[in-house]
Amino acid sequence: MNKESVRIKKIKLFGDRVLEFARIYYRNKYGLAGLIILTFFIFLALFAPFIAPYTPSDTFLAEPFSPPSSKFLLGTDELGRDIFSLLIYGTWTSMTVGVLASLLTVIIGTFVGIYAGYYGGIVQSILMRLTDFFLILPALPLMIVLAAILGPSIWNIIFVISIVSWPVTARVIMSQTLSVKESSYVEASKALGAGDTYIIFRHILPNVTPLIFAYVILNIAGAILAEAGLSFLGLGDPSHISWGMMLYYADQFGALVAGIWWYILPPGLAISLLVLSFMMIGYALDEIINPRIRRR
């Protein structure tokens, strides 16, 4: 067989696998629902300026806390800003922070996990201790402390979330690395004189890729919640409106005692739905990757 036909065959095989994956995924109620909700939010985030009737800087100071009307679909906040528009613009912040923080988290976790798992020995025990330590620490208080020290900016929030969240991924990647490392083909590869870099890129990484993928998705859910939580505590970046920040302002300006439900309900519902969509996708992926619980 010549090289070209081998390549074609490989591509076909890969295509078959993707198709099979899509077929199984499509049958999963949760996965499908999650994907639909997510697509909706991505659409909102990308086309915010075209969808939102106003911008976050359009203030109608004469009409604070006005209830939902045809002019303001979801009413206005304390500065007379259109809550519906804030909500749409907030999508971008939540999405960006969630995705970037999750990527950074998984990059740190993968690096630590592979390094510790592959090299073993004292490096592994030290990294393990460190991982367990971070795993045990109360995450939100640590994020609060870090965010308070570093100051409010969207990049700091991304950094803070990742630096606190990486241990879970590191743990999983490390145990997977360990089992791959002990497999016979890696042993054989070593016996043939393959270098560490070669083994890591050729054998270890391809084996942990599905896990990395699943953890990126799952971590996004956690990162979005973390960003919202920090913003709700007043640690958000004031120059980027986010859903957590909207709830912070709502709480600060007494929306609750005044019963201004249109300020309280939408941001929380949005956070919930977006996080839920990622959770459902993660749940579906877990069901596919984890054959034990695959539906018969």
């Binding site: 199984i24 695959r294 539906r295 018969r296």
Partner: protein
């Protein structure tokens, strides 16, 4: 008269990837007081066969056809309530891996007592006395009744499980790979124990294994299974001296014999076929060194050879398979 008769049994698993034909037309008879072995590679349907007899199949398994007659009753037709009176009480089972089959957080004695009090109407104190007797019967120290599974060695755990299987005085004992994962001497001890128990208690035993050599010394009759079908069936002597099916022949050739010098061990090339889309014709043909065109097209029937056994091979009377 045979105590158990399996007839044309077909059990398929419904999976997302398709229908797995785990057992595809299996028939055999178990005579009273006999040790009958079912031998084959893992995934050939042995365990499914035994689990069907016990009716402990997972929900995705579908019994497509067949009957299992025990004491004049078709076990596949009676309601679960009736089956409960037979299961463990009259047909008991030893599981593949006793470590996994014993509850890790309960001491072994009380696990056996659970079985006894469920089936026999006796007080708990008496059940404990019975467990003690059972421990002695299978060669375990009765002072260890209250130990936990992880405190026993592999062979002892298997004895514990055998004691549990015998706790309600069954007529048939199914032993599914009772010696897998044990070292050779322990294996032999367990098999000898089974043989002794058969004599002492008049048990009929179905022994399921992938290890032809191990069961050779204790079995009366053997069925060789391949890819969900029985390919050869006969008494132990005939099969070992004059195998008719190439698969049986290769199996025998693939383990070393004590006493024979420097004989080259044969390995069977390839791996067992997919049971979703089994090969057409004879299921063994892709791995068979003797396969001819006919084997690829036509499925060989199970034929009777001079009342000495059954074989499913187109070439059974042409090949001269010498051990």
């Amino acid at each position: 008269m045979s105590i158990l008769e399996v007839n044309n049994l077909r059990v398929y698993y419904d999976t997302m990837r398709g229908e797995v034909k785990a057992v595809d037309g299996v028939s055999f008879k178990l005579e009273k007081g006999e040790i009958f072995s079912i031998v084959g590679e893992s995934g050939c349907g042995k365990t499914t066969t035994s689990n069907t007899i016990m009716r402990i199949l997972p929900p995705e398994a579908v019994i497509k056809s067949g009957s299992i007659t025990f004491d004049g009753i078709n076990l596949l037709e009676i309601p679960e309530k009736e089956m409960k009176k037979i299961r463990w009480k009259r047909i008991a089972m030893v599981f593949q891996n006793a470590m996994n089959a014993l509850n890790p957080v309960k001491n072994v004695g009380s696990q056996i007592v659970d079985a006894i009090t469920t089936h026999l109407n006796i007080p708990e104190a008496e059940a404990w006395r019975k467990v003690k007797e059972l421990f002695e019967l299978v060669g375990l120290d009765p002072s260890r009744l209250k130990d936990y599974p992880h405190e026993f060695s592999g062979g002892m755990r298997q004895r514990v499980f055998i004691a549990m299987a015998l706790s309600c005085d069954p007529e048939i004992l199914i032993a599914d790979e009772p010696t897998t994962g044990l070292d050779v001497i322990v294996q032999r001890n367990i098999l000898n124990l089974l043989r002794d128990l058969r004599k002492k208690l008049g048990l009929s035993i179905i022994l399921i294994t992938h290890d032809l050599a191990a069961v050779a010394q204790v079995s009366d009759k053997i069925a060789i299974m391949y890819a969900g079908k029985i390919v050869e069936y006969g008494n132990i002597y005939d099969i070992f001296t004059r195998p008719r099916h190439p698969y049986t022949y290769l199996l025998i050739k693939s383990f070393p014999k004590i006493g024979s010098k420097k004989e080259r061990l044969v390995t069977i090339k390839g791996s067992p076929p997919s049971l979703i889309n089994p090969p057409k014709g004879c299921r063994f043909h892709p791995r068979c060194p003797y396969a001819i065109e006919k084997c690829r097209i036509e499925e060989p029937p199970l034929v009777n050879i001079n009342n000495k056994g059954l074989v499913a091979c187109h070439l059974y009377d042409q090949l001269n398979l010498v051990i």
